[in-house]
């Protein structure tokens, strides 16, 4: 029987319960990631084929310990369950629990159950029962919880069919009961009054609307006002929430006493042994820094090959299109705007995928929580949290996913500081800029006859990025005043062998989100830059003619003439005019208008610097052999001073400028989204810009 309306299923559970494993098992590759309106939290959905040929749309809600939210991610769970008229409002909820932390998992279950939406309880990791010395009486549990309860092992693909059957069977079922009646034991009168506010909602729904100040559209104005009245005495509200929590746990304890037994003597606890190594006061840090080195090593080493391939592939595609078609505005837009624009995004995929691979493995194994534990005290001195370590590491690939990774930090001040300083870490877009500048101005010598001076410079720039992030965090810590107090609690999950399926899905999904999110901005700016570089006032249009007139009696090849035309065109284009306009401002740093153009175009992505300079300097060479960008730049002479444009002083000044300046529209946009105001991205742009300008100025003076 084909049914036109698919069943809406919501997956809810604590973090680390294997909720995502179950989601992957149910939906396979039929997944898509969207956005919840108004927030940037990813909405993960997938389609599941049910046994009777019906389809279910499964929404994987963010992991949470309670329906009462403490972070943006968690607030989604509450919102999804209170918005009755939403297209994805669940017909049935699947609560995922893990066998080891059943008590805490049942707490969340008891809250969800009281919403009186059809519900199924799935207990995961059933294959570990013996190893943990746990025995469980599912039949009695079913009766006590008044809920269909299924033991599964998402990793071993056991019990998944039962879950599918239960979804078909229980969707839209009207047989729903609350588990804990919150009113009686706390304050009967109070909850009687609350219940009378609206007959369309269960008592627990109304209670959540009051405590979380989350009023759905479905309420009338009168009802809303009545509910707001219950918020007058906040200390009473807090007291009742505490009582409610205790009451829930008491009831769960009673149920588990009869159904769930742990024989500790049988439990084979590797956790303690591994913890004593991973959180050891010396080995703990040694292992962590070892892993960091491995990550950096692989980001640079493994990614270089694919990145070179992508680079040349896009250049070849451009060339091919240019050869195949008659030149024109459209072809120019495609070959000089769109293709390099897309290439500028795709080139980051290898590094970002490798980084996400490591982060996914570290999170899946449970090791990341130990890093949080090890680093919290150190990071707190600088106004951040142990959870800031992950964004700071991610920042070495790209600041955009790093800023998004700050969502797990629950203290607003700690999160804000992490967001603000993350762009100082050396992202992969800076690398090509560093590489070309270093090879231009730093002599290829050995330090102490052993270390390469060029390599040492690169390493110093990385250290500089981290140091600046930490120092500015410390200063922000002293400056930023936030009323909301920070609160820190981190679960230390048990160690697990990572599931390959989960890791692969995770990497693919995050990489895709980066390409689609950041890609749009980089592509748009590339097109704008193309327009500015290929259009200009009257003198731009005459560039070709004036070059041909000038070189008429010189013996130049057609190719050289083309280069000269391109160069003059760029000078007379809008972007050339912009470069000349900012020249007086950047002159103290040692830059001319050509470098100015490169600085402006770097706002799409920093590595565009290299490509822009390549276009600008692709001229004035009589020697056929001199063809690479590096050689062209090296040969460039400043017409005013007669010295090389890229002297040591200019090179160092540029390196410092790129280390500090906020030249990334993508990051600014994502900071705006995450902080919900333009205040912070503008502060970043101005603050980092000022720091970059002053430091580059001082560097130029010192080295010249």
């Amino acid at each position: 029987m084909e049914n036109s309306n698919p069943i809406q299923v919501a997956l809810i559970g604590n973090p680390n319960t294997g909720k995502t494993s179950l989601f992957n098992q149910l939906t396979g590759l039929n997944q898509k990631v969207g956005n919840y309106p108004g927030v940037t939290v990813d909405k993960k959905q997938g389609i599941c084929k049910l046994p009777n040929n019906q389809e279910a749309i499964i929404t994987d809600l963010p992991g949470t310990y309670s329906i009462n939210p403490t972070s943006v991610d968690e607030s989604i769970v509450l919102k999804s369950l209170l918005t009755v008229d939403d297209e994805n409002y669940p017909d049935v909820i699947v609560v995922v629990a893990d066998i080891e932390n059943l008590k805490r998992n049942l707490f969340l279950f008891s809250q969800v159950k009281d919403l009186e939406i059809p519900i199924i309880l799935v207990i995961n990791m059933a294959d570990q029962l013996d190893r943990k010395g746990i025995s469980i009486d599912v039949e009695t549990l079913k009766k006590e919880l008044k809920t269909e309860t299924i033991l599964i092992s998402a990793r071993k693909n056991l019990g998944i069919e039962e879950v599918k059957n239960a979804i078909t069977h229980y969707a839209k079922s009207s047989n729903t009961h609350p588990l804990c009646s919150i009113n009686h034991k706390i304050d009967e009168d109070y909850f009687e009054k609350l219940k009378k506010v609206s007959s369309n909602h269960t008592l627990y729904e109304l209670w959540l609307m009051v405590t979380q100040n989350n009023m759905p559209e479905s309420l009338t104005e009168k009802e809303k006002n009545k509910l707001l009245g219950f918020r007058d005495d906040m200390s009473k509200l807090k007291r009742y929430q505490h009582k409610e929590t205790i009451h829930r746990y008491q009831q769960i304890n009673e149920i588990l006493k009869r159904t769930y037994i742990v024989d500790r003597s049988k439990a084979n606890d590797v956790r303690a042994k591994l913890d004593s190594v991973f959180t050891h006061k010396i080995f703990g840090y040694v292992i962590f820094f070892g892993i960091l080195l491995l990550i950096f090593q692989s980001i640079f080493d493994w990614a270089t090959g694919p990145m070179d391939l992508i680079d040349s592939a896009f250049a070849n595609i451009s060339e091919l299109v240019k050869k195949k078609f008659e030149p024109g505005v459209l072809i120019s837009l495609i070959t000089d705007g769109i293709i390099p624009g897309i290439g500028g995004v795709v080139i980051f995929i290898p590094q970002i995928a490798i980084l996400f691979l490591f982060v996914a493995i570290l999170e899946e194994t449970g090791y990341m929580s130990r890093v949080v534990f090890l680093m919290d005290k150190i990071m707190r001195r600088y106004g951040m949290s142990g959870k800031s370590v992950i964004p700071l590491i991610s920042g070495t690939a790209c600041a955009i996913p790093a800023v998004m990774a700050t969502r797990t930090i629950s203290g607003w001040k700690e999160r804000l500081i992490t967001i603000l300083v993350t762009p100082f870490t050396t992202c992969s877009a800076r690398l090509p800029v560093y590489a070309i500048l270093i090879s231009l101005v730093i002599p290829d010598k050995k330090l102490f006859g052993y270390f390469s001076l060029q390599g040492f410079t690169l390493l110093s720039l990385y250290a500089l990025g981290f140091a600046t992030a930490i120092i500015s965090a410390f200063m922000l810590h002293k400056i930023v005043k936030v009323k909301r107090t920070s609160f820190f609690v981190a679960e230390m999950p048990n160690y697990k062998i990572p599931s390959i399926k989960n890791v692969v899905f995770n990497v693919v999904e995050k990489t895709k989100a980066f390409v689609l999110g950041a890609g749009k901005i980089i592509l748009a700016i590339s097109i704008i830059l193309w327009f500015l570089a290929s259009n200009g006032p009257e003198s731009y249009k005459n560039a070709e003619k004036s070059v041909i007139e000038n070189v008429a009696n010189k013996n130049l090849s057609a190719e050289e003439i083309q280069h000269k035309i391109a160069s003059l065109k760029l000078e007379k284009s809008y972007i050339g005019i912009m470069g000349k306009t900012i020249e007086p401002v950047i002159k103290p740093l040692g830059y001319d208008w050509k470098i100015g153009i490169a600085l402006i175009s770097s706002f799409a992505a920093r590595e565009v610097f290299v490509g822009t300079l390549a276009t600008i300097y692709s001229v004035e060479n009589d020697d056929e052999n001199v063809s690479t960008i590096k050689e062209r730049m090296r040969a460039e002479v400043n017409p005013e001073t007669g010295e090389k444009t890229f002297s040591l002083a200019v090179g160092m000044s540029l390196l410092i400028f790129y280390a500090f300046a906020m030249q990334c529209m993508g990051t600014l946009a994502v900071v705006k989204r995450e902080t919900k105001t333009w205040k912070w991205p503008i502060a970043q742009l101005v603050g980092m810009g000022a720091l970059a300008y002053i430091s580059a100025f001082l560097t130029f003076i010192i080295f010249s």
Binding site: N68, T70, R104, T245, T279, K377, F488
Partner: protein
């Protein structure tokens, strides 16, 4: 008065009933309830945060928080 912060590694205690008002809701919800058994498993290298096992939940909490949760040593 003993608190979670005064426990030594490997020591256990019972969270006292009078702590209820001082424990943040989130921590209560994660199982850190009055009357629960709590064990200090590890202390991070710079003596903060603390790694505890309470009511079967393994949690890392900061010392300042732990110092507010009164216990009876067992």
């Amino acid at each position: 008065m003993d608190t979670i912060a005064t426990l030594l590694i490997g020591e256990r205690g019972i969270i006292s009933e009078e702590s209820l008002g001082d424990i943040p809701l989130k921590l209560l919800e994660m199982g850190c309830l009055p009357g629960s058994d709590v064990e200090l498993l590890q202390i991070a290298p710079l003596s903060d945060p603390l790694y505890i096992c309470v009511n079967g939940s393994h949690l890392a909490i900061r010392k300042e928080m732990a110092a507010q949760i009164k216990i009876i040593k067992s």
